[in-house]
Symmetry: C2
């Protein structure tokens, strides 16, 4: 397939790409999990390594020159397929798929496996902050207040177990170009960590807001740039 720059891609083409890349990326996520947990013999490790290297060479026969960036849909939505938390094409993303509820809050149900471990059996404290940063940013974006993270504070209430988790985030208040978003992760025993972040409206968004009319595009959510 020609790798469509999304500016040129139709919604159908994007759906077709998603159907191709989502299961492919999932397969590489499974390989990463198996790489960490395997106890097969040394010779088998070396044999698998050689095959992995050969597959990498086949994929690199044609590739984009640098990072993925954010591709844009004709409809105006961002396509953050490279994003380290939500990216459909990023094997290190769990991935976390957030839904915007009717009241503007964002929630996501997701699963953290062995590769997200810090303390034994628990998610790494930094993985907790990684996911909360993303969810708070999406909540800000969903409320028409996209932004780069200015500050982020995490309060850890208890260890976050690996396995099924829920994340929730919402806008707490706004003031000028700043948006305060809050959120938390919830495990089987309740809230494990709470977050507050300040998100700063970028210059292009301020200009769009200033020029906003009923016919102008609404502000895109944060997937454009995070």
């Amino acid at each position: 397939m020609t790798h469509f720059r999304a500016e040129e891609a139709t919604e159908d083409q994007i759906a077709r790409e998603a159907a191709l890349y989502a299961p492919f990326t999932d397969a590489v996520r499974e390989l990463a999990d198996a790489t960490l947990r395997t106890t097969v013999e040394d010779d088998e490790i070396r044999a698998v390594q050689a095959e992995v290297e050969a597959l990498t060479a086949r994929l690199r026969a044609s590739q984009i020159p640098g990072a993925y960036g954010v591709r844009y849909r004709p409809s105006g939505g961002g396509r953050a397929w490279g994003n380290a938390v939500v990216g459909l094409r990023n094997p290190i993303a769990p991935p976390v798929a957030a839904t915007v509820d009717d009241d503007g809050r964002v929630h996501a149900d997701f699963h953290l496996g062995a590769v997200y471990e810090g303390p034994p059996g628990l998610a790494h404290g930094g993985v907790v902050s990684l996911i909360l940063d993303q969810l708070l940013g999406q909540a800000a974006g969903a409320g028409g207040r996209p932004g780069m993270t200015g500050t982020l504070t995490i309060v850890y209430r208890q260890g976050t177990p690996l396995g099924p988790l829920r994340g929730e985030a919402w806008i707490d208040r706004t003031e000028g170009i700043k948006t305060w978003a809050k959120g938390h992760l919830v495990g089987p025993d309740g809230v494990t960590a709470e977050a507050e972040g300040v998100f700063i409206l970028p210059k292009w968004a301020r200009e769009l807001l200033a020029a906003d009319t009923p016919d102008s595009p609404t502000l895109p959510d944060r997937s454009y740039f995070q």
Copy 2:
């Protein structure tokens, strides 16, 4: 190879395992990068996916039942090979290898590739917090004050570019069971983000400290549990 539970493994065996697993894990990291960046044809994607799935099945023929946990060396040092930031066997870890300097400060030079992206060309803000949490925790541990993260605050000064970066962390002060650690990431244009974290001494460490004598083991660093 029998996957040695480290309690039974000698230093030689551990060195041999590292020589086996470090290049293997690096190969899977390269595959993850290529998975995100490839632009090869659809049929080639499907063919590579099938081969990845076959390799995963070979690795899963024998594996540990859950997450990696922390294995212990006979010498008493922890072996956090599963850790999401520093883990030698974890394909999603960059990895970040921190060095403890003579003055007790911790520093690490590392490289972030395409899979760590948030905003186009920049590290995800949550990846910044992920790495800083780890470095602050290691600084606390290096100073004999290991702990689980209690709170973590990140102040973002500028976007953190993908590519070569340096992280630094140190203990700012201690009070009872709490340790305040600080740190930052530095890119080509200076400090990109600053962090402060409070780390809480766990119960087992308090007991070890209370019982400390010249013959007793020194407190292990945080790699035991993070």
